[in-house]
Structures are given as structure tokens and as C-alpha cells.
């Protein structure tokens, strides 16, 4: 039997992490708070991709484009005087709809074909950001994006806006947690692991595939809506294919299909370059090496390593149980 203390470590670690995230800005300078906010915003985008890729098994190289769509929606609308909350709702609906449409190719093609289709979409979105100057400001982008005032509180300061990002991360996490624990999450897993069997169990794999794309994309849009006022400026550069690839890497490094994978992946992707700054131009090389070594060691990411260790322990327990039950099951007659 598991002692109760061992079962408590997970909630305890979670509470500790949340308290740390709340307290951290008090010990950090402006730049540090900015990096932490960027982590929260990036994590949101990665959570979205983790739903599409990690849980439902549909590869997407377009998550960065949805962050871009969200960011431009926020930039354009708040510059025109709309509240950020309205921009958020519009971005969610827009990204959900576009993500749904992007899901259609996934009903016909899988794996690297699907990667190419989503890559093409990513490129298309980038071209729209860059070329439709009347809407997006083209390569000059959109300046002076205001940070919102919430219930009379201005979030202009780095610290205040950090809490906006953290609050959003909390809300998105809760919703994602609910989703993956719901029958939908189970259906996503079935879709990823064995679509043929899933269908035979009545799972409408078409509808769930589209939903996986739509929801993942909508969450990407939420990330973008926060990104615009965080940086207070948008131009096309951050939303190129590189962002999509980075988000993909974060999900994979953290551990796809693990709830906390995106948190960890985004932490590494956002913090490591800062920590490795002293290496000057070499940090990208070191980052790349670390990622390669990790993926050679465990293709299922950092949390995959942990999970394997836990499963080994569980399996040992299971075989012990099997051995104990042997007389009635493996060798015995039916009682």
C-alpha cells in the first residue's frame, strides 16, 4: 500500500510552486519579471499545442501562427479602443474557427503530411501579418499597445501585468486540466493511441480531431492576446515558423501528453537562453545539444523519464498482485 505521505507530495509541490510564482516578482527586477511573464504566456501556447499534439496526437506546425492571430487581434482592437477582454473573446472565436478548418486536412493525412499542411498555414499567416499593411502595419508593426485596466486597477506596471499573465495561465491550466480528465481527454488519448479501435468504440474520431485542433488553436490565441500588451508592440517577426517549431520543441522536451510538460518545456526554452547568455553566441548550440541528448535518452521528454520510473514501480507491484491472484486467474479454474 502507498503511505499517505507519498500521495501528498504532488499537491504539496503544486501549492509550493504556485506560492513561489506569486512571490517571485518581489525578488526580481523589471527584466526578470518580464521573462517570467513571457514564460507564463509561452506556457499557455504550449498547453494548447500539448492538447492537439500531446493528447490527441495531431502534429501541428501552426501554433505560432495562432499566437500571432491572437496578438494581432489584441493589438488592432485595443489600439482602436476596445477593451482587452473583448479582444480576447474575438481572438478565441477566431482561432477556434480557423483551427477547426485547419483540422480538416488531418482527417485525410497524418504525420509528416499533416506537418507540411500546418507548416504551409503557418507561412501563409506570416505572409498576411507582413503584407497586409492596412491591417497589421506590415513590417513596421503596431506600437503602443495599451495594458488593460481591470476593475479600476491599472496593469501598466510589469508586476501588475505579470499577475494578469499568471492569472490567465491559472485559468487556462484549470480548463485544460478539466478537459484532459473529462471523457474528451480520454477520447483524445484513444484517438492518438489507436484511432481504429477508438472508432470501433463509437468515438467519432473526425469530430474529436477537429475539436483538438480548434481548442489547441484557441488557447494559442489566448497566449497571443496576452503577448501583445506584454511586449506593447507587435510585428511579424516573432510569429514566423520559428515560433511554431519552438513551441513544438517545448512540448516534446517537457513531455508530450503530460499535463505539466508544457510548463517545463516553456521554462527551459525561456530561461535557458537567459542563463546561458554568458556563453555569448554559443547558447543556441548548447541548447540544441542539450535538447538532442535529452531526446536521444528519452523521446518522451523529461516527464516521460519520470513516468517510466513510476510505471516500472507500478508494474512490479502489479506482477506481485498477479502472483498473489494466480490461483484464480492465470492457472486456476473459474471459481
Amino acid at each position: 500500500m502507498i503511505p499517505p505521505l507519498a500521495r501528498l507530495w504532488q499537491p504539496a509541490a503544486l501549492v509550493l510552486a504556485i506560492m513561489l510564482l506569486i512571490a517571485l516578482p518581489f525578488g526580481l527586477e523589471r527584466y526578470g519579471i518580464y521573462i517570467l511573464s513571457l514564460w507564463a504566456v509561452t506556457t499557455i501556447a504550449a498547453i494548447g499545442l500539448n492538447l492537439t499534439l500531446g493528447y490527441a496526437g495531431q502534429i501541428s506546425l501552426a501554433q505560432g501562427a495562432f499566437v500571432g492571430i491572437g496578438a494581432y487581434t489584441a493589438a488592432i482592437m485595443t489600439s482602436a479602443g476596445w477593451p482587452l477582454l473583448v479582444a480576447l473573446i474575438v481572438a478565441i472565436i477566431l482561432c477556434f474557427a480557423v483551427g477547426w478548418l485547419l483540422g480538416y486536412p488531418a482527417l485525410r493525412v497524418q504525420h509528416h503530411y499533416l506537418a507540411f499542411v500546418t507548416l504551409a498555414f503557418s507561412t501563409l499567416a506570416f505572409l498576411v501579418f507582413r503584407n497586409e499593411q492596412w491591417l497589421t502595419g506590415g513590417i513596421y508593426g503596431i506600437f503602443g499597445i495599451p495594458r488593460p485596466t481591470i476593475f479600476g486597477f491599472s496593469t501598466r506596471s510589469a508586476q501588475a501585468f505579470y499577475y494578469v499573465c499568471l492569472g490567465a495561465l491559472g485559468a487556462v491550466s484549470l480548463m485544460a486540466w478539466w478537459l484532459v480528465r473529462s471523457p474528451w481527454g480520454r477520447a483524445f488519448t484513444a484517438l492518438r493511441e489507436n484511432p481504429l479501435r477508438a472508432q470501433s468504440l463509437g468515438i467519432d474520431t473526425r469530430r474529436y480531431t477537429l475539436m483538438a485542433f480548434a481548442i489547441g488553436s484557441a488557447i494559442g490565441g489566448v497566449s497571443g492576446v496576452l503577448y501583445a500588451p506584454l511586449v506593447e508592440f507587435v510585428d511579424p517577426t516573432p510569429f514566423s515558423l520559428v515560433l511554431s517549431l519552438n513551441l513544438l520543441l517545448m512540448v516534446i522536451v517537457g513531455g508530450q501528453g503530460f499535463f505539466f510538460g508544457p510548463f517545463l518545456g516553456a521554462l527551459i526554452a525561456v530561461l535557458l537562453p537567459e542563463w546561458l547568455r554568458f556563453t555569448k553566441g554559443y547558447y543556441l548550440i548548447i541548447y540544441a545539444l542539450v535538447v538532442m541528448l535529452l531526446l536521444i535518452w528519452s523521446p518522451s521528454g523529461i516527464l516521460g523519464i519520470l513516468d517510466e520510473a513510476l510505471t516500472r514501480r507500478k508494474t512490479r507491484r502489479a506482477s506481485a498482485l498477479r502472483a498473489a491472484a494466480r490461483p484464480t486467474l492465470d492457472e486456476g479454474r473459474a471459481p
Binding site: R181, S182, R186, N194, L196, Q199, S200, L201, T311, D330
Partner: protein, 247 residues
């Protein structure tokens, strides 16, 4: 009595291979129908055509008087037809209970209620009943991937019964299962047939298994029906003896 399933003159070709050549039979309410025949005679292909996994080249499938040819597998499943595959197909990372809940969840409520409602879709009691029925209580929380092969086959079969189906098609449920587990499986299948009135069709290689489990048997050879009858009829059928039982 109206048959649960009617299969009418199903043909299926793969390029030059004519795998199923005009198979017709029906399945009566409450019966266990066996399908036997040598390897490669088209049994699995026939199942796949009935279940919408493959489009038949020609022929029709009727479910309780309704034509269901060409429906998607998920649609057929929600009409109450479930199946197992010849190769073991459980979800190794989900627990035994989760596998069973998955097998039942799409038959409960709406898409929205499956998102907003309880995580188990209210199926934990049903799953636990099924677990108890198949005598796997001690394994309920184990990942399916950690079970022995025989236990996984048992779970695979249990999943097919989870949604209270009108008809279950089992493709070699006993394949690769050791003798004692085989007895257990047969006994459970008989029990579910008697207690719940479940109707099913079983493809099986193991002759004793089929003959002692089924009320009627269809013998296939080279994509065609060679004989249909009770186990006793089949044992006495000269064509069957010559073609199949003989060697």
C-alpha cells in the same frame, strides 16, 4: 423472430484477390454464432465489411431490419454493434477501468455533457460491474499494458460488452490465450450470453472452443459459405470434413 443481423451476398476484392465471395447468413436474437474456416479464408475481411471498416465490393448488411451498409464504424457502434479485433487492441496506458469507461462513454449523454459532466461519464459503477463479472477486481487500477496477454484479451472482450450492445462481433477472442484462461473466457462468454441475452458472433480457430460455445456455426472456405448448422450438423457434414476438419 426477426434476425438481429442479416448479411446478404457480401463480396470483397482487394485488387486481384477475391477475399469474400458472396457470403450470406443471419444472426438470431440471443444466439452465439461461430464462424470457422482456414486461415486466409476471409473471416476478418467479412467482419470488416459488416462493421464499416472496409466498404464491401457488393452486398448488403441489415441490422434489425435497417440497412446499415456503408455506415462508419463509430456510427455502427453507436447503433449497438461492437467488436474486437483479431490483434489485441486495448489502450495500454489507460487503466483497466479507464479502458472500460472509454468503451462506454460515447453511448452516454451528448458531446457537451461529456465535456462538462463528470470525468467518468458516470460509468465507474458499470465499469466496476464489468470488472467484477470478468473477475479482474484486483487489476482495476492497473495500466492495461502491464497485464498478462490473457488478461488483456479478457479486457478486450469485456470492452466490447461495456455499452450493452445489441450485437458483438469477436474476432478470435481466444487466439494465443493459454488453456486455463481459455476456459475462463468461454465460461464468461456463456454467462454474458445467458444473463444479459447478449447476441454475438465469434470467429475462432479453436474447434473445441467454437463447438462447445456456439449454437450455430458458419463454415467458410475460400471466401464462400461451405455450411451452416448446429455444431452437430457441422461435425457430420461431409463437405466440411473433407475441406477442413479432415486435416
Amino acid at each position: 423472430m426477426k434476425p438481429v443481423l442479416e448479411v446478404r451476398d457480401i463480396h470483397k476484392s482487394f485488387g486481384g484477390i477475391h477475399a469474400v465471395r458472396g457470403v450470406s447468413f443471419d444472426v438470431r436474437p440471443g444466439e452465439i454464432l461461430g464462424i470457422i474456416g482456414p486461415n486466409g479464408c476471409g473471416k476478418s475481411t467479412l467482419f470488416n465489411c459488416i462493421l464499416g471498416q472496409l466498404p464491401p465490393s457488393s452486398g448488403e448488411v441489415w441490422l434489425e431490419g435497417e440497412r446499415v451498409t456503408g455506415l462508419r464504424p463509430s456510427q455502427l457502434n453507436r447503433l449497438g454493434v461492437s467488436r474486437t479485433f483479431q490483434l489485441l487492441q486495448v489502450f495500454p496506458k489507460l487503466s483497466v477501468r479507464e479502458n472500460l469507461i472509454l468503451a462506454g462513454q460515447e453511448h452516454r449523454g451528448s458531446m457537451l455533457s461529456r465535456l462538462l459532466g463528470p470525468g467518468d461519464a458516470g460509468l465507474t459503477p458499470d465499469a466496476d460491474k464489468m470488472i467484477a463479472f470478468f473477475k479482474m477486481q484486483h487489476l482495476a487500477d492497473e495500466r492495461a499494458g502491464g497485464l498478462s496477454f490473457g488478461q488483456q484479451k479478457l479486457l478486450d472482450a469485456a470492452m466490447a460488452f461495456m455499452a450493452g450492445p445489441r450485437l458483438v462481433l469477436l474476432d478470435e477472442p481466444a487466439g494465443g490465450v493459454n488453456l486455463t484462461m481459455l476456459g475462463n473466457l468461454k465460461e464468461r462468454l456463456k454467462a454474458i450470453n445467458e444473463e444479459q441475452g447478449a447476441t454475438f458472433v465469434v470467429i475462432e480457430h479453436n474447434m473445441d472452443f467454437v463447438m462447445s460455445l456456439c449454437s450455430r456455426v458458419v463454415v467458410l472456405a475460400e471466401g464462400k459459405v461451405l455450411a451452416i448448422g448446429t455444431p452437430a450438423d457441422i461435425r457430420a457434414n461431409q463437405a466440411v470434413i473433407d475441406a477442413y476438419l479432415g486435416h
